[in-house]
């Protein structure tokens, strides 16, 4: 009961509103992804379900592409791919980056130095180029795209976790654990990790926003998700290629605008959610704002 009233108070603040709006957007996309088969009138991967370049109307609600794909079905199904890749990539990055950061920060020494060196070199690489390299090596497909995207984010989880670990390590209660005779693994698991983990949901959501953009970019460049899979970045890429050939831009606005809109709204959703969580989970920041 008390938890609920506290939660209610939190949700009425600015950060609460952010979480509500961001969460609603993300949930809406998740809904689309889950019920895509019921919502989409056509098979998104089937050619020529309608006339080419049909304007949005009652049958083809978002219009069709040059090859007669139904853009509405493709946009709805694109949600599936976007969320799957984001989920897989974030999970993989988290599973690799967080434990590494914990051990690196707590143990220090040569292990820490080597880990930092590797992570920093990965981090200093331009995101998209790194993803392109990995995707080119691995080839297309949802899982490979997720791996390519996750590689970019491992250093972020690593850095945040390590920095947090470094400060928590100096806390008296960690020394108390040593005085009790707790093993290193036990100390990390029971004393460090629970106090470091608060910042993970924040990076998770903020990275998700970024991951969508990376995935879109990757697909746009022809890596990661490959045709005929329905994905927004891919549709924009094809529309753009078509446009550069025919220069019919004003007439086929829907082909780029709708997938683009889908990307932007989902990114906004994740960002709002992440910022809101950040305000609530990082009390220090919150106190300084008040």
């Amino acid at each position: 009961m008390r938890v609920w009233t506290r939660l209610k108070d939190e949700l009425l603040t600015v950060s609460g509103a952010r979480i509500l709006i961001g969460g609603a957007i993300v949930l809406f996309y998740a809904f689309l992804a889950v019920f895509a088969p019921a919502l989409a009138p056509f098979d998104p991967e089937e050619l020529g379900v309608g006339p080419p370049l049909q304007l949005p109307d009652s049958t083809y609600r978002f219009g069709t592409t040059y090859l007669g794909y139904d853009l509405f079905s493709r946009t709805v199904y694109g949600t599936r791919i976007a969320l799957t890749v984001v989920f897989l990539a974030s999970t993989m990055a988290l599973l690799a980056g967080v434990p590494l950061g914990l051990f690196s920060g707590y143990l220090g020494g040569w292990f820490d130095r080597v880990a930092v060196l590797i992570m920093d070199s990965v981090y200093s690489f331009p995101d998209l180029i790194l993803a392109v390299v990995v995707a080119a090596v691995l080839g297309g497909g949802v899982v490979n795209a997720a791996i390519a995207v996750s590689v970019i984010y491992v250093p972020q989880y690593f850095r945040v976790t390590r920095n947090h670990t470094l400060s928590v390590r100096e806390e008296t209660f960690v020394e108390a654990a040593r005085a009790l005779g707790a093993s290193k693994l036990d100390t990390i698991r029971r004393y460090i990790f629970p106090n470091v983990s608060q910042s993970i949901p924040v990076i998770l959501t903020l990275n998700s926003a970024d991951a969508i953009l990376t995935l879109a970019g990757l697909s746009f460049l022809g890596f990661g998700i490959t045709p005929p899979k329905p994905f927004w970045g891919l549709d924009i890429s094809q529309a753009w290629r078509y446009l550069t050939l025919t220069k019919e831009y004003p007439q086929v606005w829907w082909w780029t605008a709708i997938p683009g809109f889908a990307i932007v709204v989902l990114i906004i959703g994740f960002t709002l959610l992440g910022e809101g969580l950040n305000d609530i989970l990082n009390p220090q920041l919150r106190d300084s704002k008040r």
Binding site: A176, A177, A179, L180, S183, R190
Partner: protein, 452 residues
């Protein structure tokens, strides 16, 4: 060979006995059974902890090159400390912050490796780290109850963890013990408080939880590092009482680290007064508080506020503050602050430097300048020759002459003053080492005491 085997055998028996004792650590008659392990009629208490020539240096700051080459400046946090704590004593380690008393406690517990020296627990060396089997015998209570409990663990989990590490008790047994120790330290009702997080507890309750966490392992030696200084006045007495009750009940030996001399006087049987990494006076508490011999001990006692406005008046306080331990003052480390110094206490060029610094405004005005900016004194210390080069300015010369004429300790420690064209070279006498003097069962490191 045979002899060695016998010894080893005896050690094992002791260990096994302790394991048994510890298993009964919650039961009330622990102190009784403990007595059995010590032969009766043995009136001389055993040495619980012996510390000899303990040193702990920390590298600080320095440039990147220093760090790579390992030539960083060292803070001598503990610089040659030795004392003995006998079984059942409350040994108070007193001093201001920066005196190194907390570091001593941490090194004794093996939380920090010693740079040099040795620590013995019941005759066994533990300097190179505490064996796991001894962990539960030596415990610590920290100063800040807010920082020393894991915010992510409930009180129950925090107290229970030690049992998880050191025992093979089952869930129900562990719970029974946690509740029992919580009751013992006054965390009642345990059923309710056990599932609270530290953030839901008051400062006093948290400190009780910290004490419970240490006590559940059944230690016989506890380092209490300023256990009440962060607590509200009205809670302090209650926690102190709890610590004393636990000592009586479980036959504990305490290393009680504090800057509060009034508390130390009340509960310690022996005290050691630390200053800048060294002990300046060690002995029975009663004797030291009745007749402090070292000027620093006297100063600390004087500085304790007296809760009586009729008696609270000016005191002979030491000047300035405790300097840092990178390059401690030579001779007696307390000499620059000492209210009653002598010329032989270790006066050195730096002291003159400090004196000039303190008088800067006065000096500037004597030169007809306003502001310290107008009076830039360049001073160069020649450490090897115990001398200081200062600019040849009349005001400075007058200051130095005045010190010599008035025969201040600093002035009398000046060996020669060579007036050059642009600079003045002030040479000091070589400092003499300060001996430890034993008076009765007390040891004092002070030249004045040594002379008397």
């Amino acid at each position: 060979m045979t002899c060695g085997r016998t010894n080893a055998g005896r050690d094992q028996t002791v260990l096994r006995n302790q394991a048994v004792l510890w298993d009964e650590s919650i039961s009330r008659d622990k102190s009784v059974s403990r007595d059995k392990s010590v032969p009766r009629g043995d009136s001389v208490p055993r040495d619980k902890i012996v510390v000899r020539g303990l040193r702990k240096y920390f590298p600080v700051g320095g440039t990147l090159l220093d760090r790579i080459l390992g030539t960083q400046p060292l803070v001598k946090a503990v610089d040659g400390v030795g004392f003995t704590i006998r079984d059942g004593e409350v040994f108070g380690l007193l001093g201001e912050s920066g005196s190194g008393k907390t570091t001593v406690g941490r090194v004794v517990l093996g939380l920090e490796p010693a740079t040099d020296g040795e620590v013995l627990y019941e005759g066994r060396p533990i300097t190179s780290g505490l064996p796991r089997s001894l962990r539960r015998s030596l415990q610590i209570i920290f100063q800040d109850p807010h920082a020393s409990l894991n915010p992510a663990m409930t009180i129950f989990q925090g107290i229970e963890h030690g049992l998880l590490i050191h025992s093979s008790l089952n869930r129900a047994e562990r719970r029974e013990r946690v509740y029992a120790i919580m009751e013992k330290v006054g965390l009642v009702p345990p059923e309710v408080l056990a599932h609270a997080y530290p953030s839901g507890l008051s400062g006093g309750q948290r400190q009780r939880a910290v004490i419970a966490r240490a006590m559940i392992l059944g230690p016989d030696f506890v380092v209490a590092d300023e256990p009440v200084s962060m607590l509200d006045m009205s809670i302090r007495a209650r926690i102190l009482k709890l610590l004393l009750d636990l000592k009586d009940e479980f036959g504990l030996t305490y290393l009680f680290i504090t800057h509060d001399l009034a508390t130390a006087k009340l509960i310690c049987s022996h005290v050691g007064v630390m200053y800048l990494g060294q002990l300046v006076e060690v002995g029975p508490a009663r004797a030291i508080f009745e007749e402090p011999l070292h000027p620093y001990t006297r100063a600390l006692i004087q500085a304790v506020p007296v809760p009586d406005p009729a008696r609270a008046r000016d005191k002979a306080l030491p000047h300035g503050e405790i300097p840092d331990g990178i390059r401690p003052p030579s001779g007696c480390r307390f000499h620059p602050r000492c209210p009653e110094p002598m010329p032989e206490c270790g006066w050195e060029p730096r002291d003159l430097q400090d004196l000039i610094d303190r008088r800067l405004l006065e000096l500037a005005e004597a030169q007809g300048r306003t502001g310290p900016a107008g009076f830039d004194v360049r001073m160069v210390e020649d450490e090897a020759n115990h001398s200081l080069m200062v600019a040849n300015k009349p005001a400075l010369l007058r200051l130095i002459d005045a010190e010599r004429d008035r025969e201040t300790p600093l002035g009398r420690a000046i060996e020669s003053v060579e007036v050059g064209q642009r600079s003045v070279k002030v040479r000091f006498r070589k400092p003499v080492p300060i001996p430890d003097v034993s008076i009765g069962d007390r040891t004092v490191r002070c030249l004045r005491v040594a002379r008397d």
